[in-house]
Symmetry: C2
Subunit: 186 residues, 2 copies
Amino acid sequence: MTERSYHHGDLHRAVLDAALDVIGTDGPAAISMRDLARRAGVSHAAPAHHFGDKSGLLTAIAVDGFSLLAEYLTKAVGRPDELRELGVAYVRFAIDHPAHFEVMFRRDLCHDDAPELVAARERTAGLLRGGVDTVATGDDSRPAVLAAWSLAHGFATLWQGGSIERDADPAESFRAVSRHLFTRPD
Amino acid sequence: MTERSYHHGDLHRAVLDAALDVIGTDGPAAISMRDLARRAGVSHAAPAHHFGDKSGLLTAIAVDGFSLLAEYLTKAVGRPDELRELGVAYVRFAIDHPAHFEVMFRRDLCHDDAPELVAARERTAGLLRGGVDTVATGDDSRPAVLAAWSLAHGFATLWQGGSIERDADPAESFRAVSRHLFTRPD
DNA sequence: CGGTTATCTAGACAGCGACAAGATTCCTTC
DNA sequence: GAAGGAATCTTGTCGCTGTCTAGATAACCG
């Protein structure tokens, strides 16, 4: 904010925030390194120094996203009705951080094989798997994992894409939706 | 294929096919109008004449996609276990036409309010709603619609994103997943 | 204080999307 | 079959973009 001389202070953070802002309003396709530089008040090539690349910037966002998602999921672990709450947390994350969510699953925008990214991805996947194991009957839990993940992911994606009416609270709406899952005769 | 003089013959189709090819391998972000022109063997500005715009091109692809999806869904209507088969058809479409599917739900890439697009979208949504009504109990079927749609959409998205192991047949895999939905005590 | 390193600037390049003006061909209508 | 209008494609241009380079500035650390 103050008068700046040559060094920005925290350009890394500033560029990330600007990028999230742009993605949130106009989508990832609207990202321009030069525009982000302008927003941060630095020269056009400065951002590249921190992220190497446009894809590098989006990769960093994706990694942050997976870390955030992991936090959300972790809070749901151990709760009663754990699996459902994991789904709710998943959806809540997508709605709280739409820009992150939008980038995380667009592999063509990121350096898909960046080690940090695959690590962050695997970490969250593990959390989901754990949650499903609390209800799955044991024989083969993979379809159950897939079902839970697909439901939450699909709901979040459709919500974010605007395909779901936004008049209701998304978390509550998803709870209603999730009632149709795993309701076997007992 | 033959020697061409000024008029291409079917540049519209050629550009669409080239675009689908690019999207299929490198994603929609890799689309370049000039590259598509080169592939079709025409001058750099020719494609724009057919689609007006890069977004126009992607809009056309999305519209085609919704029409294709409607075909897939229509085939499933009336079958035994209709809702499940609708889901299978949804997933099958996404896997048969990944490039279309990838564009259809990326509103920032298309002219989102193009009349053809909203019409095509609404048409497919209607098909899905109809399928759910065959099982829903009546009081409020919207969560059920959402559940079915979310499950299929999420599965398709995750599959396409590479998040689901691809060793099994996707249709069969989704059938297994969908067994966890609407399995109320009877 | 001196040197190493991280950070940022400035300039250049090819490629891009979009626009405008003109060339060529098709197609309808007389 | 000719004329004229419409559709299609070319060519040239503009500002913008991402990325690369070399150089300037500042922070850090012995």
